[in-house]
Symmetry: C2
Subunit: 205 residues, 2 copies
DNA sequence: TTGCTTTTTGACCAATTGGTAAAGCCACGA
DNA sequence: TCGTGGCTTTACCAATTGGTCAAAAAGCAA
C-alpha cells in the first residue's frame, strides 16, 4: 500500500516513483497526454505496466503529479523577481532565468505547453489558485516601477506574456527553430532577448 | 472513387470534404492528433465514420491535408512583407497581420502549434521546403534594412521568432491568457505589441 | 530459517479505435 | 422507367490500451 497516508516511502518506492515520473515526462512531453501509453512509460521506466499501476492509481494520476510538481519549478523564476531590486535588472534577470529554464528543462516546458494548448483540462485549478495571484502581484510590482518612472510605460500583463512566449518558444517550437536556424540558437537568443526587453523598458529621458 | 486523378469533384464531394476538414480542424486542434478520434470527427461533421473514410484514405491523410492547406495561410502575412516598402511600417504591419490571424484563426494556430510541439512528425518536409526559403529571404530583407540604417540592429532570425511567439501566444495559450487577464485581451495586445516592436526597431539617432 | 510485508509479474479483460467489406440507396441521364 | 455509378450505411474486425487480479518473488526483521 504505497499510498498508506502516514507511512514514509521505502527506498524502493522513492526510486521507482522517480523512475516512473521521469519516464512519463519523456513520453507525455513527446506525445501529449492522449498520445502517451502506459506501455511506453513502462518500457521507458524499465518496469512492467502492472508495476507502474502499483505506484500510481492510473495514467491520469501520473500526469497530474507531473503537472503539480512542475508548477513549483515554473513559478520559481517569477517568485524571485524582487520588488526592492533594480527594476531593469530584475526584469532582464527574469528573462534570462526563463530562457535558461527553457534550455535546461525543455521536456517540462513542452508538457506545460501541451496542457495549456488543449485548454488546461487538468491544470486550470492550479492556474487559478497558484499562478493568478502571483501574476497579479508581480503585475502590481511592475506597475509600481513604471509609476515611479523607472521603466517605460507598458501594460505589465502583456509584458509578462511576451516574456513567457519569447523564452518558451525556444523549447516548445524547437523543431521549427532547428529547421530554421541550424546551429545552436541559444546564445543568439540570449543576446536578442536582452536587447529586446532592454529597449522596450528603458525609460525615455 | 473520389480520388480518381482527373475527374473534377462533384458538388457533394466538395461539400463533404469541406465538412470533414472543418470538423477535423475542430477536433484535432482541441485534442491533438492522437487525442482525436474518427468518431469525434464523424459526429462533428454529421457523417458516419465509414463515410469519412470514403473521402479520405485515413486519419493521417485528413491531418496532413489540414496541415498542407494551413501552410499557405500561415506563410501569407510574411509573404506580404515588401522589401520596397517602409521598413518600420512593413514590420509593424506584419506583426498586426500575425496577431489578427491568431485572433481570427485560433484553431489553425493551435493545430500548427501542436504539430511543432511534438517534433513536427508530419510537417517537417513542409517546413524545410516552404518555410525555410521564405524565412531566409525575409531575414535577408530585414538585414538589408538594418544595414541601410533604417532599423536598429537586431538578429533578424530572432526578431521573426519573437514576432511569431508573441502573436501566436494569444491563440495557443488562450486558456492561460483567459485565466490571467479576464476580459478581452486582444486590443491591449495590439497596442502592446505595436509599442514593443516599435521601440525595439527604432534606429537610435 | 521462519514468517510477514512489500514488490513484481503473467494472464487476462472490456472498451475503444482505425479501418474494411459488402450490400443498399439515390440521383440522374438515356 | 430503368440502369448505372457515385454515395451511404450496417455489420464487423483486429489491434491497442487502460486497467485488474491472484499468485509468485523478493525483502526483511526475528
Amino acid at each position: 500500500m504505497p499510498d498508506g497516508s502516514v507511512k514514509k516511502p521505502s527506498r524502493i518506492q522513492t526510486r521507482n516513483r522517480r523512475l516512473i515520473l521521469d519516464a512519463a515526462l519523456d513520453v507525455f512531453s513527446a506525445h501529449g497526454y492522449r498520445g502517451a501509453t502506459l506501455d511506453q512509460i513502462a518500457e521507458a521506466a524499465g518496469l512492467s505496466k502492472p508495476n507502474i499501476l502499483y505506484y500510481f492509481a492510473g495514467k491520469e494520476e501520473i500526469h497530474v503529479t507531473l503537472l503539480s510538481q512542475l508548477m513549483e519549478t515554473w513559478l520559481d523564476p517569477l517568485v524571485e523577481m524582487d520588488a526592492s531590486g533594480d527594476p531593469m535588472e530584475e526584469l532582464l534577470g527574469y528573462v534570462q532565468r526563463k530562457l535558461d529554464m527553457a534550455r535546461a528543462l525543455p521536456r517540462e516546458s513542452r508538457l506545460f505547453a501541451g496542457e495549456i494548448l488543449q485548454g488546461a483540462p487538468r491544470m486550470r485549478p492550479h492556474l487559478v489558485a497558484d499562478l493568478k495571484p502571483l501574476f497579479d502581484e508581480k503585475c502590481a510590482v511592475i506597475q509600481g516601477w513604471i509609476d515611479a518612472g523607472k521603466l517605460a510605460p507598458v501594460d505589465p500583463r502583456h509584458l509578462i506574456f511576451s516574456i513567457w512566449s519569447t523564452t518558451q518558444h525556444y523549447a516548445d517550437f524547437d523543431a521549427q527553430v532547428q529547421v530554421l536556424s541550424g546551429q545552436d540558437p541559444m546564445e543568439g537568443a540570449r543576446r536578442y532577448l536582452d536587447t529586446l526587453f532592454r529597449r522596450v523598458l528603458s525609460p525615455q529621458p
